[in-house]
């Protein structure tokens, strides 16, 4: 053994393998550093966005933002009508879309296991989940704006409702599937009809998970701009009627951010600050809820 170890050939081999080892470990170290770097870059983007919003937005935060409607440049307007309009459209959109999404999710989890129709519905719902939201705006424009001769708040709600459906479908189905089948069997075994089993037992067991889905959907539509451009259009005046154009925070931000007026751009940043932190807060709340649900 010692004889071969000390032969010049083996020594060269050992050297070579040590060199190979060094190279492998060096590669490993380099890749690790690059991965840490990639993560830092990703986090830096988020930090930069949040910092920019705070830096530009906090200065404009004042009570008047919440008590005054949008006004012509230079007259100290606020965002009241946009905030109220956003709340109305978001809540109404979620209220229309949630029951439908809930029923679709129920259908997929409780009725359509393995059926061809069920698979098709799941497939289409997944596509709609990532479909460009601007096209949903165009779709609703053709159906609910163009035939009725005008932009309206309700058309905005409908567009947002279409976006809500696939999000609620996904979480509802996932959450219902987590429920052990023994629970279902126990309920059916007691003689309860299936619909009572679903509504009284399954929904209750999946309550937090389903609520997570609804919260995520609300967070998503609260920031949607593109679909509203073609449906509720935006309105610089105070208006609560659903059959007229309605203001919303994202559309107002869009109009103001591109304007040439200093105070409008400032208000756009305030609006951006409000909407982003609102949306992120809802998201974090939804995550905490989900963690408790699982």
């Amino acid at each position: 053994m010692s004889a071969t170890t000390f032969s010049p050939g083996a020594a060269r081999e050992a050297n070579a393998s040590r060199a190979l080892g060094r190279r492998r470990y060096r590669t490993n170290a380099i890749v690790k550093v690059l991965c840490v770097l990639a993560t830092i870059i990703g986090l830096a983007f988020l930090a930069s966005i949040l910092f920019t919003l705070l830096w530009r937005g906090v200065g404009g935060l004042a009570l008047s933002v919440f008590t005054t409607s949008t006004l012509p440049p230079g007259s100290h307007g606020g965002l009241l009508n946009a905030i109220i309009g956003s709340l109305i459209q978001t809540l109404l959109g979620a209220a229309i879309g949630t029951p439908i999404g809930l029923m679709v999710g129920t259908y997929l989890a409780e009725y359509a296991q393995g059926s061809a129709v069920g698979n098709a519905v799941r497939f289409v719902s997944d596509i709609l989940l990532s479909a460009p939201s601007i096209l949903i705006g165009l779709f609703v424009y053709q159906l609910a704006v163009s035939p009725f001769g005008g932009f309206s708040g309700i058309a905005g709600c409908l567009a947002l409702a279409v976006i809500v459906i696939p999000i609620v479908v996904r979480t509802t189905e996932d959450m219902l599937r987590l429920i052990p089948s023994t629970l279902r069997e126990a309920v059916i075994g007691l003689g309860a009809p299936k619909w009572k089993m679903i509504v009284l037992i399954c929904y209750r067991a999946a309550k937090q998970g389903i609520a997570t889905g609804i919260l995520l959907a609300v967070a998503r539509i609260a920031g949607e701009t593109a679909p509203l451009l073609f449906t509720s259009l935006g309105n610089l005046n105070w208006s609560l009627s659903l059959d007229k154009p309605m203001a919303s925070l994202p559309v107002t931000i869009y109009q103001y951010a591109g304007s040439a007026f200093e105070d409008w751009v400032q208000l756009a940043w305030v609006g951006a600050l409000l909407i982003t932190f609102g949306v992120l807060a809802i998201n974090i709340a939804a995550r905490l809820l989900l963690r408790r649900a699982k």
């Binding site: 990532s130 460009p132 998201n283």
Partner: protein, 319 residues
């Protein structure tokens, strides 16, 4: 015995309960409504674009005109812009997303994984319009003052690839749009990669470590081959998202209906063109019809990409 007799009629009553029939019908109807919704979107966009398809024929796809005065419209420029920005965005996003997913599954200390994961996922929650403002007020000035002049000076005169880096440094343009899109799709790709990396059985990885593999070697020769198909699915998901982004792109792409060879040149995408031109189109006009036709084309492209993504992802992630 008595109990069994007493219980016997119950299941049959339950089975024939009218509530059950109604509830089942309602659930099924909702499911069919989703199918109807997709069909309706396709049909409505196609019918809306009918007038433009009829007026311009197949030439609509390859014409680079967009002339509201002469009423001549073509889809070539926005289709080009849509595809180029989305693909460039992936070129930037995929390596970063891979690094993040690798870090989150193999390198990060366990207690650190959840906060970092959440932070990356929150990038996906930031509304599109915020990316637009951030891009316009933060990224564009940086591109205009530092990145573009430096690159133009140093790479603009290179043979063969120099044309990619020429032109005035406005800060806006194709590359800036791709950069913003990249940031927007990173969370989707990274989250999918992280999830599929976690599906690799620990035994496989442990065997490789036992043979003396380094972390990177385990990644390269065990994890990636095992998850290859799903990783491509995740990338396609990011592509699908990038294709249809509207507000962020509208802010930074420069909005010019021209195909430029330079990465710093202005351009447009289907979504940004529709968002910008829509307010200036009359109901029933040829222009509006052309925009709807563009919408139809975008829908077809994203449908194909998203369908492929889902087919690749389905076997691995049971979603």
């Amino acid at each position: 015995m008595q109990q069994a007799v007493a219980a016997n009629p119950r299941p049959s009553r339950a089975r024939s309960s009218p509530g059950d029939a109604i509830f089942a019908a309602l659930a099924k109807a909702s499911g069919l409504l989703v199918l109807l919704l997709l069909g309706a979107i396709i049909v409505v966009l196609f019918l809306g674009g009918m007038k433009a398809f009829r007026a311009f024929g197949p030439g609509f796809l390859i014409s680079d005109d967009w002339d509201p005065v002469q009423e001549v419209y073509g889809a070539a420029v926005p289709i080009f812009g849509t595809v180029v920005t989305a693909v460039l965005a992936l070129a930037i996003a995929v390596p970063l997303a891979f690094g993040i997913a690798f870090y989150l599954t193999e390198l990060a200390p366990t207690w650190f994984r959840r906060p970092v994961s959440t932070a990356i996922e929150l990038l996906a929650a930031v509304p599109s319009i915020i990316y637009g403002m951030w891009g316009f007020f933060v990224v564009v000035p940086i591109m205009a003052e530092y990145v573009q002049p430096t690159v133009i000076d140093n790479l603009g005169d290179l043979p063969l690839i120099g044309f990619l880096f020429q032109g005035p440094p406005f800060g806006t343009g194709i590359l800036t749009a791709a950069l913003i899109l990249a940031v927007m799709v990173i969370p989707f790709i990274a989250a999918t990669m992280r999830d599929v990396f976690e599906t690799v059985p620990a035994v496989f990885k442990e065997s490789a470590y036992g043979l003396g593999c380094t972390t990177w070697e385990v990644m390269r020769s065990i994890v990636i081959p095992y998850t290859r198909v799903s990783v491509v699915g995740g990338i396609m998901l990011g592509l699908g998202r990038a294709l249809g982004e509207t507000m962020a792109v509208t802010f930074v792409i420069g909005n010019t209906n021209r195909i430029t060879s330079s990465l710093f040149g202005p351009g447009n995408t289907i979504a940004s063109l529709v968002a910008l031109e829509f307010p200036e189109s009359q109901a029933g006009s040829l222009k509006l019809s052309s925009l709807l036709a563009l919408g139809f084309i975008l829908f077809v492209i994203s449908f194909i990409v998203l369908a492929i993504s889902r087919m690749l992802l389905r076997p691995r992630l049971k979603t």
